[in-house]
């Protein structure tokens, strides 16, 4: 019974870990669309990328990952640095890009 419980808990956590569908980052120095084009282009070239959202107003970059595909936060951070910027914070988010955009729209409306 204990084993079954442990397996169930592991399954839940494992599922949560793999369910990270997007990477969300705050990027320092990203102030111009012409200059930030490299971030968008390089991220879209990656095999794991489903979609990309560059939000200049909030200095934010979001990458939605394809199903069954992964991208390490280190690889993501390196790509941003190679484009000439610094990452202030980066994390996995278990949401699609559409959901993240909707959250931001809602937050703006609340403000």
């Amino acid at each position: 019974m204990k084993k079954l419980f442990v397996i169930a808990v592991l399954a839940i956590f494992t599922n949560t870990a793999f369910a990270a569908t997007s990477i969300h980052a705050e990027v320092k120095g990203m102030v111009c669309a012409f200059c930030a084009k490299g971030i968008n282009k390089k991220l879209r070239e990656l095999d794991a990328t489903q979609d990309v959202w560059v939000d200049l107003k909030n200095r934010m970059v979001v990458v939605e990952l394809k199903d069954q595909k992964t991208m390490s936060l280190e690889a993501f951070t390196k790509l941003i640095k190679d484009a000439g910027y610094d990452v202030a914070s980066v994390e996995y988010i278990n949401k699609t890009l559409v959901e993240i955009k909707a959250d931001h729209t809602h937050m703006k409306e609340v403000k």
Partner: protein, 213 residues
């Protein structure tokens, strides 16, 4: 003839400015140019690594006493970048060596330094550039400042109002003040200005475009 025609076509479609970014991202190429009555410049560079770019530049300059065409190979280096939460500042070094032709000719060199600062609403640039060859001296000093009325999303085109003050040694038009409308999009940088708009004798249009690919 074909080369001159190609150059003229490139100048017409890619008339650049001194933007904050002097190179694209890693593994990208950038085309920059400037086109006005007394000065035509074209520069193409390739960035193999962050902060380094190699390329070629050609400058046609009409001075007070002579006209020259200078063609250099060049290097652009990012000395220091400051990435801030709401802005970016850069200190650049550029240098080119090559050959001058025209009324004077010989070995040419063109080192320069540039500092720029930019947020999503405010822009400032200062640049000093030596352009030298035997009996040729077109040293240039320029300041630019600008602002945008509003922030835009990545997909939108952002309009800016920019004013540049520039002085160039030994040029036919030594001092230039150029107010311009700048449009920045993720795919291009377009600028249309009028140099010395209050002076009917020296008033001249200036058109700039930068492309990264």
């Amino acid at each position: 003839m074909l080369a001159r025609l190609s150059l003229a076509l490139l100048l017409l479609i890619t008339l650049p400015a001194q933007a904050a970014a002097l190179m694209g991202f890693k593994d990208s190429a950038m085309l920059m140019s400037e086109f006005s009555t007394d000065r035509k410049e074209l520069m193409l560079n390739y960035s193999p690594a962050v902060g380094h770019a190699f390329g070629v530049e050609t400058m046609w300059m009409r001075g007070e006493k002579q006209t020259n065409l200078i063609t250099n190979i060049n290097y652009t280096g990012l000395i220091k970048r400051w990435n801030m939460p709401s802005g970016q500042a850069n200190l650049w070094f550029m240098t080119g060596i090559g050959e001058a032709s025209g009324d004077s000719s010989g070995f040419s060199y063109s080192p320069s330094v540039q500092f720029d600062y930019e947020t999503t609403r405010v822009y400032f640039l200062a640049k000093a550039r030596m352009v030298r060859a035997p009996h040729i001296q077109y040293d240039t000093y320029s300041l630019q400042g600008g602002f945008s009325f509003y922030e835009t999303s990545f997909e939108e085109t952002q309009p800016w109002i920019v004013v540049e003050a520039r002085t160039t040694e030994n040029m036919a038009m030594r001092n230039e003040i150029t107010p311009a409308l700048r449009l920045i999009n993720q795919n291009y940088f377009f600028e249309l200005g009028i140099t010395n708009p209050w002076d009917s004798e020296s008033r001249t249009p200036r058109l700039n475009l930068m492309l990264t690919f």
